[in-house]
């Protein structure tokens, strides 16, 4: 089920992006911005590495059976890259293995296990106050994790000029892609992606703030913001009711699981700024013909529940 949702999300993104590119003929090419190398498709290799710890065998079997990486590979066939990159799932003996230039991309079994554990904070069959179900949380979090890492590969290999912290930019690109979905699915994905950060128990003090990544709370609000920035109607429920922020009362007056109005007011501009960056630097490096081919395969994905 996870597989179908993630792949459907990605495919829908591709379809939507192809449409938008058809309407606005861009004169910028990939090579205007990026290193002058031999750009090719199909540069993604995938691998499921068998875990040493039998505790992760179930996750390994599941991912393999669902062919998550093969699906991702299909989507990425539209992305032109100068070099090959390996995307693998592996036991890391830590929850994450940060991407380094050149790759590989590693999705750790420990990370998936952590996602699954956090999702159990949501009562089975129920939702969080914001309306996130267990299923949404898992699907959105997996999509977020994978798309975040892929964004880093794109920045790295295409030498994208990233102003601001790279991991925040990767979150924005991941969110931007998820938002190309039809409203209802995008809503579930963004809700799920945000939940994982919302549910984190980590508290930050002192030198914790030297981390190259932003805090979970910041990433949580950033996901809500990019969604609300794109569509204030569809994501109006991500924002605190009017007056809450202005009251200046105790923090009890706020709902931590929603975006304060002060930030929300700026989100449409943030989204527009990101879209300008996407259109300028990233879109020119997608192969439009290949995208069309990818899109024609959406049909067989419609077996989604």
């Amino acid at each position: 089920m996870i597989r179908v949702f993630v792949v459907a999300a990605i495919m829908a993104s591709a379809a939507s992006l192809a449409l938008s590119s058809a309407s606005g003929a861009s004169r910028i090419t990939c090579k205007d911005w990026h290193i002058d190398q031999d750009w090719k498709l199909d540069r993604i290799d995938v691998e499921y590495v068998e875990p040493k710890d039998p505790a992760y065998s179930a996750i390994y079997d599941d991912l393999k059976q669902r062919q998550i990486l093969e699906e991702l590979q299909q989507f990425l066939s539209a992305v032109r890259l100068p070099n090959k990159v390996l995307v693998k799932t592996e036991q890391c003996d830590q929850s994450e293995r940060p991407y380094q230039p050149g790759g590989p991309v590693t999705i750790c079994y420990e990370y998936i296990a952590k996602l699954a554990a956090l999702a159990t904070k949501i009562p089975a069959g129920g939702t969080t106050p914001r309306g996130v179900s267990r299923e949404d949380a898992t699907i959105g979090a997996v999509a977020q994790a994978v798309l975040h890492e892929i964004s880093l590969v794109v920045f790295d290999q295409q030498r994208i000029p990233v102003w601001g912290r790279e991991d925040d930019a990767a979150d924005k690109l991941a969110g931007f892609l998820m938002l190309q979905f039809p409203d209802d699915t995008a809503h579930k994905l963004m809700n799920g992606a945000a939940f994982f950060f919302e549910a984190s128990d980590r508290t930050w003090t002192g030198s914790d703030f030297s981390d190259v990544k932003s805090t979970e709370a910041q990433r949580f609000y950033n996901y809500l913001c990019i969604a609300y920035g794109k569509d204030q109607k569809a994501f109006g429920d991500f924002v605190q009711a009017g007056g809450q922020q202005a009251s200046g009362g105790s923090s009890n007056a706020f709902r931590d699981d929603l975006l304060p109005q002060a930030r929300a007011a700026r989100c449409p501009r943030e989204y527009a700024d990101f879209k300008l960056g996407y259109d300028t630097f990233i879109k020119p490096c997608l192969d439009q013909q290949q995208l069309e081919k990818v899109i024609t395969r959406v049909d067989w994905l419609k077996s989604a529940p």
Partner: protein
Amino acid sequence: MQILSSAVLACALIWSAHLKAEDADSEALLENDRIQIEYVKPGASHLMPVYETMKERKVLERLKQFLSPLKLPVKLKITMHECGTTNAYWGGRASGLSLCYEFFDFAKRIAPKEATPEGYSRDDAITGMFLQVTLHELGHGMFDIYNIPVLGREEDAADQMAGFILSQFGPEVARRTLPGAAYVWQQFNESRGGEWPHWLYSDEHGHDLQRSYNYLCMAYGSDPTTFAYYVDSGLLPKERAVNCKREADQMLNAFQKTMLPHIDAAKMKAVQDKKWLPAVVGL
């Protein structure tokens, strides 16, 4: 007042060359009539000395010279005025950059009284703070004026613009300015008593300490030799330090692709060739 003068003088020393005869050509080169500067007389009497000193030291004239390589499609207004608050801001293309007299008072209050063991002085701290806030807000201005896409968070990007520029004038300027940029955010954090409620993480700005560590990382990444003491002393944790070179490369890549096309190369060379930092011993 004495401290204020020190700050202004320190800034002036960074931005201005001694007007030696041999520099006359480059002085003439560093003109840019698209940059408009103004000192607005403050209403509050306690800010009058600041206003007078700024004018006397020609701080904005020097800033204008420093920015002269910019190929500007629109006028760039830079105004120093009383704001009613400790601030500086980019007010959009029409209003331009606002620098508040109040900021100096703030910098004076939070600057360390004594030099650090690394030889980093009170004047350096004040200079670094002033340059951080000025170049940060100018960063917003550059993104606005040149329509530069920012893929990450713009507030961090503006910090990067400031840090990147300060790292482009050799180890001496970097050593004397970048620590102040990091210091100001440590001090902001302390002035808040470390209080940071959950909803504040929704702010577009990073946590004060994140901004401070980002500047430490920019300094170390751009010059690991000069700033080795950051890592040796534990100011910058090793886990982050190993990533800083890569982060510096990322900024260089972004600057080259998005800013460099808007910069006059000959003027930039003249700005970079200037002896920006004569000895300021005794200030």
